[in-house]
């Protein structure tokens, strides 16, 4: 089972969303999130390097790709203002 979150960017001119990347974990208990997409995109690089706040559990500090599922779950809260949006975590069988 693979757990995924998709990140989208809105092109305000065309009003179309573009998928920038899918962040994924190979299993729920694995510890490192990987990227499927343009790893050189500066937005994607920033997220992987800088992490995001722990919005879901409101704990101090940030969560990073090596925090696994906690990181994935927080992306939808980090990207919620419209121009960038992240999906809920979904699963798929490989």
């Amino acid at each position: 089972m693979t757990y995924c979150t998709d990140l989208f960017q809105l092109d305000a001119k065309s009003s179309e969303q573009k998928k920038l990347a899918t962040f994924y974990l190979d299993q729920e208990d694995s510890i490192n999130v990987h990227v499927d997409g343009d790893e050189n995109n500066e937005v994607v690089q920033n997220i992987m390097r800088e992490g995001v706040f722990d919005y879901k559990y409101a704990r101090p500090g940030k969560v990073y790709p090596e925090d696994g599922m906690t990181f994935l779950e927080n992306l939808r809260y980090a990207f919620r203002a419209g121009y960038f949006l992240a999906s809920d975590v979904y699963s798929k069988t490989s």
Partner: protein, 224 residues
């Protein structure tokens, strides 16, 4: 430097009316963990519609409070924002920024594209609301006019304290003093918080804004 257009030139009241009740030509649900829809409104206006969460605080109350504060300050940092109902669903709708020269402030030196007093305006706004989640995901730099565009004023921004605003941090680094225009705007905030009492459910937010406005008027800069 190019002069920044003021709201009046864009028929401010007309835009608000369009957001509130203009005929929707196109409605597109955006892929997201939240309920966000992109609207194309008669006349060519494009806007986000964010539905209120039935189980939590209403997004629209926070978005509208932020917009109202920006109007009181006359800073013009936020997109036009209004309350709206679509098929019985209540929420807020705010204009999509579509300028050509908007920079996502990922680079640490983003503030080199912003004039001092424009940075000060955005920092004052964030200081007043005690913005707890201001970062590159919820502001743009307009490199043409050397200004800042703010968005994403929901309950997390107002109620959580994840970090000091990136904009406030930059203003402190520059040790900016506030111009008379900015102080004039802040003068209107205290009476506004008193008018808003009873209209907004989080009285402690209004109390905090009032207290921080008084601090700014005394210190004439963003306090450390």
């Amino acid at each position: 430097m190019t002069l920044k257009p003021e709201f009046g030139e864009h028929n401010h009241a007309g835009v608000i009316e369009q957001l509130e009740k203009g005929q929707i030509k196109e409605e597109k649900e955006l892929a997201s963990g939240d309920q966000i829809t992109l609207l194309v409104i008669q006349g060519g206006l494009t806007a986000f519609f964010k539905e209120d969460d039935a189980s939590g605080p209403a997004h629209s109350d926070f978005e509208l409070l932020a917009f109202d504060l920006d109007q009181v300050l006359r800073f013009h940092l936020l997109p036009h924002t209004a309350r709206r109902q679509i098929d019985g669903r209540a929420g807020s709708t705010y204009e999509v920024f579509r300028q050509n020269d908007l920079l996502i402030p990922l680079d640490a030196k983003w503030d080199s594209f912003v004039d001092d007093q424009e940075l000060a305006k955005a920092a004052v706004f964030d200081f007043l609301i005690n913005a707890g989640d201001r970062n590159w995901r919820n502001f743009f730099v307009d490199t043409q006019y050397r200004t800042i565009k703010l968005f994403g004023h929901d309950e997390i921004m107002f109620l959580k304290n994840f970090s000091v605003s990136d904009i406030v941090r930059k203003a402190r680094e520059r040790n900016l003093s506030l111009s008379q225009d900015i102080l004039d705007g802040i003068q209107h905030v205290v009476p506004w918080t008193e008018r808003m009492a009873g209209k907004f459910m989080y009285q402690e937010i209004l109390t905090g804004i009032k207290s921080r406005a008084q601090t700014l008027l005394t210190e004439k800069r963003i306090p450390a």
